[in-house]
């Protein structure tokens, strides 16, 4: 075999395609991403704070019981640091969350350190769920989740405004029905 093996589907001939570009991997050239609502940051901050506060309180308690000067220094440095780090992480993660509707498939992108892009063909969607937890409801957000026959397809889109979630559910459900094929 003299021709080197290739994986592309004659993409190389298309304009604007640069296979060596690292950026291309999570940004296919024919995709316009819709970021999720920034309100999701608030939701996650609140949830994070609810976990962080008890931890902080118990750390303070331990420090008070031990009553050691170094303990106080450690606590005074670590606690604000973890708070800031967690909030910064959430900020970045929410900023990285995005979805896109293509002609034939739906794309979800997430993660900053560990990046992940999932492509779900409309014809493979079994059903679509919309859920909203108590904190999400406070800021009028919802999570849309696509279900396929495959386990481990992480295709949930958190942080959608209620109208957008309803629109997406309707659109995905109708597209899924129109293009649904058997397994």
């Amino acid at each position: 075999m003299t021709i080197p093996p290739t994986l592309s589907h004659d993409l190389s001939s298309e304009p604007g395609h640069d296979p060596e570009n690292m950026h291309e991997l999570f940004n296919p050239h024919d995709v316009t991403w819709t970021p999720v609502s920034r309100g999701l940051r608030t939701v996650r901050w609140i949830v994070f704070a609810c976990c962080w506060l008890p931890c902080a309180a118990s750390c303070l308690l331990v420090a008070a019981l031990l009553a050691h000067r170094w303990m106080w220094v450690v606590v005074a440095v670590l606690l604000p640091l973890t708070l800031a780090w967690g909030m910064w992480l959430i900020h970045r993660q929410v900023a990285a969350l995005a979805y896109a509707e293509r002609h034939e498939d739906f794309l979800v992108r997430r993660g900053v350190m560990f990046r992940k892009l999932t492509v779900v063909p409309y014809g493979r969607m079994q059903y679509v769920d919309v859920q909203a937890g108590p904190v999400e409801r406070m800021v009028k957000l919802a999570t849309v989740q696509l279900h396929t026959a495959a386990p481990g397809v992480d295709a949930s889109i958190p942080g959608l405004g209620a109208p957008e979630a309803a629109r997406l559910r309707e659109r995905l459900a109708s597209l899924g029905e129109a293009k649904l094929v058997g397994l």
């Binding site: 589907h9 063909p121 014809g123 396929t148 386990p151 094929v181």
Partner: protein, 512 residues
């Protein structure tokens, strides 16, 4: 449930045997069902009684006034078991409709399940040991999109189970049915052609070449040496639990693999296996979602391989791991030639002129072994993340399927047809980003096969993901045919009747 017997009578064919079916077309299980289902409970009661008598807690020489209450309680328990079993038999029934089968059960809480037959994924006929003695089988359907997961009819007479299997597969294939003698539906038995048989010798040898047996042997030798050194035989007692576990595992695989045969027929791939409990599986064409050919470390010298498959429904939440491991095994032990043959039947068109060569490259090939085998491989820098296996990691995409190879100590080759792909994803961790690598995951249905390609070049991964969604779309548009017999039945039936050699990879088979 009371409404079903009065309404929609017309829609349900009375497929009853000698007038067993009632007005709604409902048909009960075989009359011996309560016996087969309840015998373990009765055994339990007998065990309790004999234990009490022998253990002296129930002394039969006592006065009747003391013994009678104990016997009354036991009689009540036995009666309750018998009554419940009979009630359960009375309420359990099935009926066949136009391209649908219904099953109802439950004494207090009635439950009716419905399975659309065009979504039929597989039909299993299971004969437990006791069922084999009295001639009863259980029929299990795996259906995608049915209400509820578990669809099993237990127990039917052997002949009825076989007839029902034929009828269900024929209906699922879109064939029209003929009426048999007693007014029941009948479908012709599809001709089958056996392509693989596991000999007992090979099975035993393969079992002995497993890592588990090796560990057990080492464990025994170690314990013996220790007991000699210490000079006490009590160390040998420590062997017992380990040996017992090994024996259980070996027996389980022996029991389920015994007499394994693979046959091809127009209604799909047929597997038959089992020593005490006999299981016949029929997986219609195009229902195999993904394949994994693998080779455990100790099989390398013998050149043996096993094939596992994903079939939707075989790995439900309700089925146990052990059962789904039995169901999803396509071939337990095979040479590379047999593997090529079975693959050519399950996946008739790999999309390359020489499938055997590709298979060989996928099973045995390595980066740097001098061959240019068509696989796009992980680059050299992947050795930082996968020092042992990087040279085996690679992917090949043909017009019809994706082949992903990996593993060096235990070799793997995983194959998914484009139209069977559920979704595709790409992921990249910080180390991979630094090295310019990314992993691609091809999602298949639930099952033992989870195809993924780790540590590809970023450009290759991007090309694979974007091309894969396009390829899957094209393949689905062309291939989709739920009722597989509508177009190809005559061709294949003729080919099989004429006795065409199964070794020919160009055997005409329905579209996948």
């Amino acid at each position: 449930m009371s409404s079903t017997s009065t309404e929609e009578v017309a829609g349900w064919q009375s497929s009853g045997q000698q007038g067993q079916a009632d007005a709604g077309g409902w048909q009960r299980m075989h009359k011996l069902t309560p016996l087969i289902k309840g015998w373990t409970y009765l055994l339990g009661v007998i065990a309790v009684v004999s234990h009490s008598v022998l253990g002296g807690s129930l002394d039969l020489s006592h006065s009747p006034a003391k013994v009678l209450p104990a016997f009354a309680v036991m009689a009540a328990v036995v009666l309750a078991i018998v009554v419940l079993a009979c009630l359960s038999w009375w309420t359990t029934a099935y009926r066949l409709g136009e391209a649908v089968i219904q099953h109802r059960k439950g004494i207090l809480f009635r439950q009716t399940r419905q399975a659309p037959l065009d979504r039929l994924q597989a039909v299993d006929v299971v004969q437990p040991l006791l069922g084999r003695i009295v001639g009863l089988s259980e029929l299990r359907l795996e259906v995608a999109g049915g209400t509820g997961g578990d669809f099993r009819l237990a127990y039917l007479s052997d002949a009825n189970a076989q007839r029902l299997r034929r009828v269900l597969l024929a209906q699922a294939a879109g064939l029209s049915l003929t009426d048999g003698q007693a007014g029941e539906q009948e479908a012709p038995e599809a001709p089958q052609h056996q392509v693989y048989e596991l000999s007992t010798g090979t099975m035993v040898a393969a079992g002995l070449h497993s890592t588990g047996t090796l560990m057990a042997a080492l464990w025994v030798v170690g314990a013996m040496v220790t007991s000699l050194v210490v000079g006490s035989a009590t160390v040998l007692l420590a062997l017992l639990p380990g040996l017992f576990t090994t024996a259980t595992v070996v027996w389980a695989s022996f029991n389920s693999h015994f007499g394994f045969t693979v046959a091809t027929s127009p209604d799909g791939i047929r597997l038959r296996h089992g020593l005490l409990e006999r299981r016949s599986q029929t997986v219609p064409p195009g229902r195999v979602q993904a394949l994994e050919i693998s080779q455990p470390l100790l099989w390398k010298g013998r050149g043996w391989w096993m094939i596992k498959m994903n079939v939707a429904g075989y790995a439900n939440n309700v089925t146990t791991d052990q059962l789904s491991a039995v169901q999803t095994l396509l071939v337990p032990v095979a040479t590379i030639e047999q593997v090529a043959l079975v693959i050519s039947l399950v996946l008739p068109d790999v999309g390359v002129p020489d499938p055997r060569e590709v298979l060989r490259a996928g099973l045995l090939g390595r980066t740097g072994d001098g061959s240019t085998d068509g696989f796009v491989v992980a680059p050299t820098q992947a050795r930082w993340l996968a020092p042992v296996t990087w040279s085996r990691r690679g992917v090949m995409v043909t017009d019809r399927c994706v082949l992903a190879r990996s593993g060096r100590l235990r070799r793997y080759l995983r194959i998914v047809a484009h139209e069977r792909m559920q979704a595709v994803g790409v992921r990249q961790g910080p180390l991979q980003r630094r090295l310019g690598l990314a992993s691609v995951v091809v999602h298949s249905t639930r099952g033992p096969v989870r195809p993924r390609v780790d540590h590809l070049r970023v450009a290759d991964a991007a090309a694979l993901v974007s091309a894969q969604s396009a390829r899957a779309r094209d393949a689905r548009a062309v291939a989709q045919q739920q009722q597989w017999m509508r177009q190809v039945a005559p061709v294949l039936a003729d080919a099989l009747a004429a006795g065409s050699t199964p070794s020919s990879p160009n055997l005409p088979t329905p579209p996948q």
